[in-house]
Subunit: 456 residues, 2 copies
């Protein structure tokens, strides 16, 4: 291992140049005019992977190609196999005028590289490739087999990934998936994200009179659909911030003392957090800290309201309809299907006979968890500690990463989320940056991970 | 009186021709390009009034001119004085393609004259002028003095009327104002509208986080302003349809048995009414009929809701703010100022500390009532009965007519609302029409009114 870490230490300048080359591609998957830039970026990756000694190929899909790169296999030996997932496509750079330096001309200021995709996700997946390079170039034997899968449609919903996984199931089946595409709370605070929330989306439309009515002539004798909607919504959350849908909390895996202790180690006070959000006072489910509420507890959020007249001044109508858009965040082990069913039947009960209700279910995603005491999680924590020289924290992430559920479904593998993005890295915003000290720490972490993971 | 009624009977054909001439003017006050048509229409009115023997002048205002026409006064005698109000301006005719015949080419089909302004308000104010003509032309002495005030800005908010009333207060002060500009429930059902609802408009904005937040990362730890708004709104109306603002009903004048009996005489069942509105079931304040609810009881209506994402699909945010537009309809003797104060203080009590509330008050108008047992109301009922040969009904109107409050304020006079517009007259819509039998009945009603009103 000493040769590996020495190789990494002494080649940082070149690695940063490699990252510059990688970031220069405007590989914006949301914009059709960049299709050729995505292809060129994928081809650059193939060349780079071959150059560092990986057996590499470009897999065509219905969308952008996927790069598959494998470390040299040891003939006749069945070793642990890990997949490293990343993506070479990036978010659109707009608005351009808010960038201090052009998004596709990577620029180093202080300890950061600025450029679209530097953090999300080029810098993070290149860190893993660099660790593999160090093993191969120093002739250090890896105690496991690695397969890199780097796709080009993550920012537009990974549409081709499921078919690709199905097609290459035998080759890709592995003992665990490793992804560096999430956050790290601070430069000196390495973290393993071990759980994600799921999601269930709804749209509810309350239909009242067949057209907007004059509120002077008819108002008072007919229910107001916006009021009916408000009264239904109001009943869905109690004063303790608990969601009132019958059975909603039945399957929620309780937070262990160990997990709560870990979450309490995250930096920042609730007062600072309220100031950061710009609210007079925080609000959430009683009995949980703000971090627990936003990372590890289920939620019910109104995302949008629409009814009647929305312009200047007033219009004296009883509106014909009112609509709400809702998403719930679900946590392990809630089942979206069960929640959707219970919600629909509760809504039917709450809806008064004076209006007609229409419910549309939108997208859904399962929540995700890897036990923080599993051997994989513990191995990841050891690798983080070796790389950073600090005790890592265990985190849950409040958002959803649907591909993680695909890996579970198609490859039967758990995913270790070892993010390197700082909270101020501006992923998806102008002036995206990646911290170059974390680039190096990430390479080290990856190198250690392949030592730790195969240990049982 | 026999000479008067005979004159009216035998001159119908010419009166209809006069109405055609009047309707031909495209006197659309909302459209600046019709300014000259408004002036031409006012000048035609002056000429017409002079021709039938009224002392007439055109009063300039900051907007369109007002026609003032007076019956010949009896020297040295102080007689009861009544003002007849009307307006010569009309609503815009658009959309043109929905008209069966051009809006400003009056056309008779069946017993109706079709044309913009035929019902609202040219036909109705010409009926009153025609009655005065009959008295003058037959040399029949009027037992009172009449002043016709016909303005040209009613459809755009009567902006010049208040200044005009103040300037001509001495001349216009009168014992009662008569307006035919409201509805009649059916051809065979003459009606006196004796009360109007007032109004108070509000906009409430609930401010949450300083920007839309990612519901995965932050959701659960911060209040959702759309939910906070729903929970505030939900508390404002109870399950019996009663508004919960403290003191809201304190000043409401109770409906007398006489009034409720009158309202029960209006045609149509509640089942038919629900079908007409297109709702599965009517809803309103418990203990009152639908007609009472919409005509004589105060209401609280949500006119519009706005928050967060309103486009296709879903956007997983905690919105930064949520807004509601509200109008309340107020009834005699509720005081808008008192209600506004009570509502604001109740809202402050309902608003949770986790969001910030902003309340904007909009326009307001006082409710209006003339006692249905007053001598003026009783005189109007006798005149209606004489003209129609049927027992008239007493009605309240759920909307507001702000000028009525101006007459009360500047002229200290009550207003008798003796509308001739049928429910299907399409006022403000394409194919506006006026029933020519009601035109004649209206003339007779006016002729009788001047006999009945001076009786104490």
């Amino acid at each position: 291992m000493q040769k590996v870490t020495e190789y990494l230490r002494s080649n940082q300048a070149r690695f940063i140049e490699d990252l510059c080359d990688y970031v220069r591609f405007p590989s914006v998957s949301a914009q059709p005019e960049h299709r050729k830039d995505l292809k060129a970026c994928a081809e650059w990756l193939v060349k780079h992977c071959k150059g560092i000694g990986l057996e590499t190929r470009l897999c065509t899909t219905e969308g952008n190609p996927i790069v598959v790169a494998k470390t040299p296999r040891k003939k006749g030996v069945r070793r642990p196999h890990y997949m490293v997932y990343g993506h070479y496509d990036v978010q659109p750079p707009e608005p351009f005028d808010l960038w201090k330096t052009p998004p596709f001309e990577p620029t180093i200021r202080g300890s950061s590289m600025f450029g679209r995709g530097a953090s999300d996700n080029k810098g993070q997946n290149l860190a893993h490739l660099t660790a593999a390079e160090a093993y191969i170039k120093t002739g250090t034997e890896l105690p496991c087999d690695l397969t890199f899968v780097i796709e080009g449609e993550e920012e537009v919903g990974s549409k081709s990934l499921a078919a690709f996984l199905v097609k290459n199931q035998a080759e890709l089946t592995c003992d665990a998936v490793v992804i560096s595409d999430t956050g790290i709370p601070a430069k000196q605070l390495p973290a393993l994200t071990y759980a994600l929330r799921g999601i269930a989306a709804f749209e509810i439309i309350i239909h009242g009179p067949s057209r907007d009515l004059h509120s002077g002539i008819f108002g008072g004798s007919v229910d107001n659909p916006a009021m009916a909607l408000a009264q239904i919504l109001a009943k869905l959350r109690d004063k303790n911030g608990r969601i009132t849908i019958p059975g909603f909390y039945d399957d929620v895996a309780p937070l262990s003392t160990y997990e709560r202790k870990q979450m309490a180690r995250l930096p920042g006070s609730e007062k600072e957090f309220a100031r950061f959000l710009g609210v007079p006072k925080l609000f959430g489910e009683k009995g949980f800290t703000a971090n627990e509420q936003r990372m590890a507890r289920p939620t019910f959020e109104i995302n949008g309201l629409t009814s009647g007249y929305q312009g200047e001044g007033s219009k004296t109508i009883v509106p014909s309809w009112a609509r709400v858009k809702i998403t719930m965040r679900l946590v392990p082990n809630q089942n979206p299907g069960k929640i959707i069913k219970s919600f629909r039947s509760y809504l039917t009960k709450l809806c008064p006979p004076t209006v007609r209700m229409e419910i549309k279910s939108g997208h859904g995603a399962e929540p995700y968890i890897v036990s923080p005491t599993s051997s994989e999680a513990q191995a990841a924590l050891r690798a983080l500690k070796s790389a950073f020289g600090k005790e890592p924290v265990l985190m849950r992430e409040g958002g959803s990463i649907p591909i993680v559920n695909q890996f579970k479904k198609y490859l039967r593998a758990d995913t270790l989320l070892l993010g390197l993005a700082l909270p101020d890295d501006n992923a998806h915003s102008p002036n995206e940056k990646f911290d170059l000290e974390l680039f190096e720490k990430g390479q080290l972490m990856s190198a250690h991970l392949w030592q730790e993971l195969p240990k049982k």
